[in-house]
């Protein structure tokens, strides 16, 4: 971990991080869109459960990605019903849902990218483990302009040699 921190580059920190959050909350509170968080969350749970569970394949993952991106679009029109500033769970849920959508997108993209099966990632269309090609960590960086961008980080092998698990 220490070694990784020393070698990895940092993106410059935002100038005023608190402003970014305050703006985000203000935008959510003032939005008068026609979507609510509940149905988006429910549909997200459903698609991730049905199509991005342990057993996965390209067609289902592609459909899931489309669905997640559609939900992200719908999220842009979300409105907060609770306008109060005291214990506003509605607002908290909406902020959480935003992060859940981002995560769902990279989980699905990562699953699509990794064309092999390994541990709890079981691709029905690529049932074998492939250490030649996929002994790497899948990473994502995010920018507002380009969205999530995949990249890979080599695996540092220390005490345990990688080998296929046969139980």
């Amino acid at each position: 971990m220490r070694r990784y921190i020393h070698t990895v580059g940092f993106s410059p920190p935002p100038g005023s991080p608190e402003k970014e959050v305050a703006d985000k909350i203000a935008a959510l509170m003032e939005s008068n869109g026609n979507e609510t968080g509940g149905p988006i969350r429910e549909e997200l749970q459903e698609v991730m459960m049905d199509k991005v569970s342990v057993f996965r394949n390209r067609p289902a993952l592609t459909e899931a990605l489309e669905k997640v991106r559609e939900l992200k679009k719908r999220y842009q029109k979300i409105a907060i019903q609770d306008k109060g500033s005291c214990f506003n769970r509605d607002l908290l849920d909406a902020i959480e849902l935003d992060y859940m959508l981002d995560l769902a997108e990279v989980i699905t993209l990562g699953a699509l990218t990794r064309e092999e099966s390994r541990g709890a990632h079981s691709r029905e269309d690529f049932p074998d483990r492939d250490d030649q090609k996929w002994l790497v960590h899948t990473m994502f960086r995010y920018s507002r302009e380009e969205g999530p961008q995949v990249f890979f980080k080599p695996v540092t092998i220390t005490r345990f040699q990688p080998k296929e698990r046969k139980y």
């Binding site: 609510t36 968080g37 509940g38 969350r41 429910e42 907060i80 019903q81 609770d82 109060g84 500033s85 005291c86 214990f87 506003n88 769970r89 509605d90 849920d93």
Partner: protein, 237 residues
């Protein structure tokens, strides 16, 4: 199946008085009460506020008054209640309501801090852990299960009459440390609890033990403090 939920609502910014709001929820007998509250919030009324975190009876956030009895909403299922699918959900008694089902737990945690809920030892720290004698551990093990949900303190009739009384949860934590053989502050701990706002405030009404969602023998543990105080007195005289 259809369930009726009558829920206590109070928003200090809008309401002068608390009110009750009725919701119809489509629930399975195996749904938790917390699931039903989530359904209300996600499907009907996002303005409803209540605390929860782990939803598995560990974090102790969602102690509520359910049909007049203090329970963890995440630990009780719809089928556990014989009230023909009618539910009345209210905040914990004793504490001040912040909003809807959310109460101010600050006084609870302040009292909890006064019992010094940490190990005090004037012995040199050993190279490794301070090992505990298994027999001694067995003696106070039930007290370790406390999740600080506040159910016991909210239910305690003494607490309602005397707001200085430490209350069962803080006393239970006090017991946990006076009983621990590794702790060397036992004398000052017992002295702190030796009064009417401490262990002697307890009149063994058993409500704390009755409501405890972790089945901790709270009343018995408080009685153990009383016993240890008396033993200490005898030893000194």
């Amino acid at each position: 199946m259809k369930c009726t939920f009558v829920v206590y609502r109070f928003d200090p910014a809008v309401d002068k008085e608390p009110r009750y709001q009725e919701y119809m929820v489509e629930a399975e007998p195996t749904d938790k009460i917390l699931d039903c509250l989530n359904k209300i919030r996600w499907e009907q009324d996002p303005t409803l506020s209540y605390r929860y975190s782990c939803a598995h009876g560990i974090c102790g956030s969602d102690a509520l008054m359910i049909n007049g009895r203090i329970e963890l909403a995440c630990q009780k299922l719809v089928r556990d209640f014989k009230t023909t699918n009618n539910f009345v959900i209210e905040p914990l008694p004793l504490f001040n309501v912040i909003k809807d089902l959310v109460v101010d737990m600050d006084p609870f945690f302040e009292k909890h801090r006064t019992v010094r809920p940490y190990l005090i030892s004037d012995e040199e720290p050993p190279e490794t852990e301070r090992l505990q004698d298994p027999e001694n551990q067995k003696f106070f093990e039930p007290a370790l299960a406390c999740i600080l949900c506040g159910s016991c303190t909210a239910s305690c009739p003494i607490n309602r009459a005397n707001d200085k009384y430490l209350g069962p949860a803080a006393l239970l934590r006090g017991f946990r440390y006076v009983a621990d053989s590794r702790d060397t502050a036992t004398g000052s701990r017992l002295a702190q609890l030796d009064n009417e706002d401490g262990a002697w405030g307890c009149k063994s009404m058993w409500w704390c033990t009755d409501v405890c969602p972790k089945s901790i023998p709270v009343t018995k543990s408080i009685a153990q403090i009383k016993r240890l105080i008396k033993e200490e007195e005898k030893r000194k005289s």
